[in-house]
C-alpha cells in the first residue's frame, strides 16, 4: 500500500519518518496528480487555516473527498483532524468533512497551555500524547467511534476508514496510532 502525506504545510516530514519506522516508504502529496498515486493519505499537524487555503487553491479538496468516499484510508492529526471534520465551531475555514464531528480549535488553550500526557486510545493502547494548541471534538454524529477522551472531550475518533487524533503521534517514538491507521 502506497501512503501519501499531504505536504502543503506542517510537520509532514515527521509523519514520513514515523511511517518509515513501520517499513513503509511514504510519498509527499502536493497536487491532485500526486494524490492519484497513493492508496492512503495522512493529513499532518500544522496550521489548519494555512493547509486548508492551500488545498483549496491547488484544487485538492474535491479529489480528497472523492477518494475518501471510495474507501481510501485517511489519518488526520491535530490540524489534520480539523480538516477531516464536518464542522468547525466559530469558523468558516475550508474543511473536507470526512468524519461527522464538530471540532473546536485551540480548545485546550494557547501554547502556554499545551501539554503532554499518557492517554489510553481504543484499539491502540496507552500512548504518550502531545497536545499543541490542540482542538477537541465538541460533538459526534452517528457512526463515529470515540477512541480516547481527555477532560471528558473526545480527542481521538474513527468513522469508517478515517482516523483522527487531536494530539500528535508523529512527535513521539510510539508508532501505535500509525500502525492502527495502516491496519484500517
Amino acid at each position: 500500500m502506497k501512503i501519501g502525506v499531504l505536504a502543503l504545510q506542517g510537520d509532514f516530514e515527521d509523519h514520513r519518518v514515523a511511517l518509515g519506522r513501520l517499513g513503509t516508504d511514504p510519498v509527499l502529496v502536493r497536487t491532485p496528480d500526486d494524490l492519484g498515486g497513493v492508496d492512503g493519505l495522512v493529513i499532518p499537524g500544522g496550521e489548519s487555516t494555512t493547509i486548508g487555503k492551500l488545498a483549496v487553491r491547488r484544487g485538492l479538496i474535491e479529489p480528497i473527498r472523492a477518494r475518501a468516499a471510495s474507501g481510501m484510508p485517511v489519518l488526520g492529526t491535530c490540524a489534520g483532524m480539523i480538516l477531516c471534520a464536518r464542522r468547525v465551531v466559530d469558523s468558516d475555514q475550508p474543511v473536507l468533512g470526512l468524519v461527522d464531528i464538530t471540532v473546536r480549535r485551540n480548545a485546550f488553550g494557547r501554547q502556554v497551555d499545551s501539554f503532554e500526557c499518557d492517554l489510553d486510545v481504543g484499539g491502540v493502547g496507552r500512548v504518550r500524547a502531545v497536545f499543541i494548541r490542540a482542538p477537541w471534538v465538541e460533538s459526534v454524529g452517528e457512526g463515529v467511534e470515540v477512541l480516547a477522551e481527555r477532560d471528558g472531550r473526545p480527542v481521538a475518533a474513527r468513522q469508517g476508514r478515517v482516523l483522527v487524533t487531536a494530539f500528535h503521534p508523529e512527535l513521539t517514538e510510539d508508532t501505535g496510532v500509525h500502525a492502527a491507521f495502516l491496519g484500517v
Binding site: Q9, G10, G46, Q111, E116
Partner: protein
Amino acid sequence: MTEERGTLRVKRGLAEMLKGGVIMDVTTAEQAKIAEDAGACAVMALERVPADIRREGGVARMADLTKIDEIMRSVTIPVMAKCRIGHFVEAQILQSLGVDYVDESEVLTPADEEHHVNKWDFTVPFVCGGTNLGEALRRIGEGAAMIRSKGEAGTGNIVEAVRHLRAILGEIRRLHGLAPEELAGAAKDLRAPQEIVRDVAGSGRLPVVLFCAGGVATPADAALVMQLGAEGVFVGSGIFKSEDPAVRAKAIVEATTFHSDPDVLAKVTRGLGEAMRGLDVRTMPDEERLAQRGW
C-alpha cells in the same frame, strides 16, 4: 493522568507545526487579518517593522501590550512577540500575556551585552537568531526551541540571510563527517555545548526547527531559502512595506510550499506590484548592522 506543560517536546513541537509556513510581521489587528487570510502560519506582533526601526532609530523595546493583545484577539493562528536580548522580564511579561512564542531578537535594542535570556526558566518557547552554527547551538544550549537565521532585518536584501543559512547548514554537514574523537575540539571551536554538538554530528541536523529570516522580500527569495534548506520563512518588512501586501503575502505563502516548482513560482510572481525598496548591505556602516547584536 497528569499533564506536563512546557516540556522540550511541547516547545519544539509548536515549531514543528509551523514548518513549511510563513510567519509575518504585523503591527495592527488589520494587518494580522490580512496575514491570516493570505495563509500565514503565524504572525509576529510588533510596534514597528524592522525597516521603520532602522529609519527612526532610538531604543527599540518590547511592543505595547495593548497592541499585542489586540492582535492576539483578532486571529486564531499563533502569535509571536519580540523581547530584547537578555531582557528576561520582558519575556516574563510576554509569557504572562499568553503569546505563543517569544523571539529574543536582535531587531530590538539589546538589554544585556553579555547574557541572553535563560530560556529553560520559561513555559513559553523561544526562537532565537543565529549567523552561524556556533551561535545557533549556544542559543539551543540556553533553551531556544527554534532557530532562525538573522539575515539583515529591514533591508529587503536576502544576501545576509543566504550567508547565515549557508554557514549554519554547511557547518552541520562538516560536523556530520567528523570522527567521534574530533567532536570535542569542534565543540571548543564552535564555543557550543559538547552534548549538542555530538547530537548534531550524529543526526546531521539541528535538534530544533530552522527558519530563515532577515531580508525576504519576494516569493523567489522565500523559495530560494527553502531550496537552500530552511524549514520555513519569516517575512518582516517585506510584506507590509510593499505596494500590495495582501497579494504579496499570498504569493510568498504559495512560493514557500511549492518552492521547488518553477512553474508555480512563475505564476505567483506575476502582478505583485512594487516590492519594498530595500537597502544595499555592503554600503551599510557596521554600527547599523543588526545581525552583529548577540553572539
